[in-house]
Every structure is written in C-alpha cells, then in structure tokens.
Amino acid sequence: MSALSLDSLSVTLGGARIVDRLAATVEPGEWVALIGPNGAGKTTALRAVAGLVDYDGAVAILGDDAAALSRRQLARSLALVPQVPLIPGDISVREYVLLGRTPYLTYFGSERRADHDAVDVALEQLDLLSFQHRRLDTLSGGERQRATLARALAQDAPILLLDEPTAALDVGRQQQVLELVDSLRAQRGLTVLSTMHDLTLAGQYADRVLLLDGGRLVAAGSARDVLTRPLISEHYGAEVALVDTESGFVVVPVRGTIANGA
C-alpha cells in the first residue's frame, strides 16, 4: 500500500488549471521531491494533498480516500510545514509545538499527559528543550523553522508535507534542515513529500523527483534520470552543467548561455 497515491489530481483556481491530471505515488518511508519552475503548480499540488484546496481526481492516503476522511483524521495522517509559516510572536515555543496535538483533542478538550509527552519528544529531537519557554519572536529564523518542524512532529503523522523547507535559509541552515528531516525520516519511519526549489538539494536528498511544468507531470524518477540537461533546458529555460560528486551531482547554471531577458 502506498503512503500517498494521486490519481488524475487537478486543481483549478480562478478559472486557471494550476495542477493538471497529476498521477503519482509515494511509498512508505520514501522522500519524494516535487520540482519545477516557478508557477509549475508544486505548492498547489501539495496543498491539494493536504486538503486545503478543492480538487478533481482522487488522493489516497495510506489506502484511504482522502475525500472521505474528516479534517481531524487527515491531520493525524499528514503534517504540513508551509513555506512561510505564520508565527504568533507572543507565545512560547512549547505552546506553539503543543498546537500540533490539535488533531487528537476534542473540540473543547485540553491536552493530556500523552500529548505533553509527544511534545517533549518533538522538542528533544529538534534540540529545542532549552528554548521551550522562550517567546517565538526572540528566536532566529532557523530556530523558528525548527519549532515549526517540531510542531509537525508533535502531530505524530506518518506523512510529512514540506513546502520549500529551505527557502530563505543560508547554505549551512539548508543543509542542517534537510539532514534533520532525513534523520527524522529514518528515526520515525516518516514518508516525506516536499516541494524543492534547489535542484542540487532535491537530487541529493530525495529518493525520487517529480518534475512539474504547467501543472503537468513531465518527468519522474531518480534525480539522475530527471535532472538532465535537455529536460532542465526545456522546462526551466536554463543552461546548466551537471557536475558529478561523490554524494550525488550538482546542478550549476552556466553564465552567458541564454539570451538576456529570455
């Protein structure tokens, strides 16, 4: 049984087809990256999987039709980390991570011991225990991102949806976050579906990549199969060189090879 299975997933927003008949599966424990140029529909596809936009077609989560699941059930299976989370500055890290327990609580209910334990584990895994009583607005950008990840972990969902997890981070922080996600994936057996901007990082961390352009899936497979010079040229309009390294290969743009303003 696949962790995620998308069957002819289409999203239309304001009359425009943003995601067009996307079909894909993500196996348990796998890390799959959605890549593609700006406006390819990566984020919208991710939001459709999370049930945040209306879609046509079908999404199956661990074998269950997502449309038949309640919001709460969905939230117990999927944890979403948005690209730019809205951070309420005046609450503490612990209070923020505790919000991840929402899918397990009744409407007027409050947290029990087990919920606080799950929060302790998440704070510990993200090395945030010493920060737990700090206000969110006193944290750095990287620490905030760890807090958001901790909130997603506290959700105890088997599938993690990450929207551009490395956007706006420096190269060191990018690496730290992705290594962290990878180790959490191993420790907790998580399945990860993420959108990725950076092709090199997508190639290095994801088991498989799905290349979207104009809302359609145009290539899928291992990084080596998808990140080819012709495909990147066709869909990104970029001329790149692919440099092999021992940990995977590196995609670099080559200066002076495309017309100005093209």
């Binding site: 939001r47 999370a50 049930g51 945040l52 309640s70 919001r71 709460r72 059930q73 969905l74 939230a75 117990r76 999927l78 944890a79 979403l80 948005p82 989370p85 809205l86 951070i87 309420p88 500055g89 005046d90 609450i91 503490s92 209070e95 923020y96 919000l99 991840g100 929402t102 899918p103 609580l105 409407y107 007027f108 209910g109 409050s110 206000r135 959700q155």
Partner: protein, 330 residues
C-alpha cells in the same frame, strides 16, 4: 501567581466599589451583610444602610464586573479570531447598530427608557449579522480581512442612519449623547438580571475556545491542516462575543477601550496564549471597570463622569506605561 494577583485585583475592586460612597458602611459589616444576603440570614446593617448596600452599591458593582469582564473577553476573542490587535468588541458594527437602535427608540417613542436596552441589543445583533453575511459573501478564501472590511462598511452605514435620525430630532441629541458615552446606572438588580445570562453563556463559550484561538493564531490554512474547522470556530466565537457585547451595550451604553486595553495589558505581561489571556481578561476586565466606575462617581461627586471617559482618560496613560516598560524589558 498570576491568578492570585488577578484575583486580588478583582477582590480589591469589588470591595472598593461597595465601600466608596457618601455613606460609610464599614468593611467588616459590608462583608457580613453581603454574606448574610447570599445565604439568607439577617443583615447586620440598619434598614437604610442595608438598602444602600443591597439595592444601590452591590448591583452597580456587580454590573460593572459583568460588563467589564464581558467587554474584555469579547475584545480578546475578536483579536484572536481576526488576528488583528486593533479588533475590539465593536469591530463588526455592534456599537453603530446599538447606537441606531437606541436613537430610534429615543426619537420615536415616548421615552420611558424601558425599550432602550432591547432596541440597542437588537440593533447591535442586526449590524453584526449584516457584517457577517456581507463578509462571507466575499468567499471563505478572503478570510478575516473581508469580515473586518464588512464591519467597517456596516458601521459607516448604520452610523449614517443614526446621525440622520438624530438630526431630524434635535431634541434627542443630549439623551443619545449621554447614552453613547456609556454609564453604569442601576435600578436594583434589574440590569444585572438582563446581562447575567448572556454574560454567563458567552464566557463559557469563549473560555471553551481558548485553546482553539491559539490554533487560529497560526493562520487559517495551517489551522485547517491541524484539523480545525476554521469557519465554524470563527462563527461560534463571533456569536458568543457578540451576544454578550450587545447585552453589555444594552445596559451600559458604549464603554470604549476596555476591550482593547485589558487584553493587551495582559498580553504584554504574560504573553499571547489565549489559555491565559481569556480567563485573565475576564477577571481583570471586571476589576478594571469597577475601579473606573468608582472614579467616575467620585471625582466630581455628586455629579458623575461618563465611565467611557474614565476608561479612556485613565486607561490610555496606564497602557502607555505598560507598553513602555514591556518594550524595555523584552
């Protein structure tokens, strides 16, 4: 510790409220007499003094506490569901609607005053419902911003109608004006009986939502991704806050600033989590308005200041001090 301080503040306010006045009743006897009334024993006070306590001062103090707690909690709740620090209980047009209802009654009825509270209540409710329907017609995707704009629109429209009616009936201006400034005036326990059921229901519903208001702080999308039905939470909180605000406006007019200053002061002191913010707003809001009323009826005694003037005149500088100190220590 925070709870103890808040409780002491409220207790001090209540005690000050019943003790301050032209007739000196004495601390101990006041406490004994109040207790005697509650459990049905014979009051130690003389008949006249007992009437001052039980028919004049206590109802007024209790009314102040109910109105203050309600406005502060409603303000905090509005700030939460709209993620807008400037939201107050009048954001969706409750004040303008109540103002129009009150003006219509003053202008077109003989003016016994009995109809004023229900008219204000109905006006406030109609305005908020209109704003909600208007805001929702923009689509759920427009989020809280559409509702706030709808509230502004409804407020302008109702205010325009209110001013028009007022201009046509110039003799009513003074009565309407004094009502708009807000005042706690009681005839025995009548006003308390009007607001108490609304306040009780509203407090229970709002406090029940304190955890969900924290969830809403991360945004509509993320709250939905955490399994919350955002539209339903927002509607329930707005309904609960609105009926209590309408009831408060009906018995006490428009008392400004409580719904903003009390929650923000607490936010600056203990942080923004609604788990603490909402219950503390009820307690501190209640105490704050009782103190404000003591000032309103003493500084120019025997004349009374409108309590809305007191809440703003003393509240604003106090808030400025809190703002300054918290910025320095942050």
């Amino acid at each position: 510790m925070r709870w103890v301080i808040a409780a002491v503040f409220l207790a001090a306010a209540l005690l000050t409220g019943v003790l301050v006045g032209p007739v000196d009743l004495g601390v101990l006897t006041v406490v004994q007499a109040t207790f005697a009334h509650i459990v049905g024993l014979h009051s130690p006070l003389s008949g006249a003094d007992d009437a001052i306590l039980w028919q004049l001062r206590l109802p007024r103090v209790v009314l102040g506490a109910l109105v203050g707690g309600t406005l502060a909690a409603a303000g905090a709740a509005y700030q939460g569901v709209f993620r807008n620090p400037l939201a107050d209980p009048y954001l969706l047009g409750a004040a303008a609607g109540a103002g129009l209802g009150a003006t219509l009654v003053v202008a077109f009825t003989s003016g016994s005053g009995d109809l004023l509270p229900p008219a204000a209540f109905i006006g406030a409710s109609v305005a908020v419902v209109a704003a909600y329907v208007l805001g929702r017609s923009a689509g759920a995707a427009a989020g809280p911003a559409a509702l706030v704009l709808a509230g502004v629109t409804v407020t302008s429209f109702f205010t325009a109608m209110q001013i028009f009616v007022q201009q046509q009936h110039v003799q009513t201006v003074q009565q309407i004006y004094s009502w708009l400034l807000g005042r706690l005036s009681t005839a025995g326990w009548h006003e308390v009986a009007i607001i108490a059921p609304y306040a009780a229901v509203s407090w229970v519903i709002l406090l029940g939502h304190r955890r969900l208001l924290d969830v809403l702080a991360v945004g509509d999308d993320e709250a939905a991704a955490l399994g919350v039905n955002v539209g339903r939470v927002r509607l329930l909180v707005v309904v609960a806050a609105t009926i209590a605000t309408a009831a408060a406006v009906a018995v006490s007019g428009l008392i400004a600033f409580v719904g903003i200053i009390v929650p923000h002061t607490i936010r600056l002191l203990v942080g923004g989590s609604y788990r603490l913010l909402l219950p503390l707003s009820v307690i501190v809001g209640a105490g704050f308005l009782v103190f404000a009323d003591v000032i309103a009826r003493t500084v120019m005694s025997p004349a009374e200041l409108p309590i809305g003037v007191v809440t703003a005149f003393f509240g604003a500088p106090f808030f400025a001090v809190v703002l300054r100190t918290s910025r320095r220590t942050a």
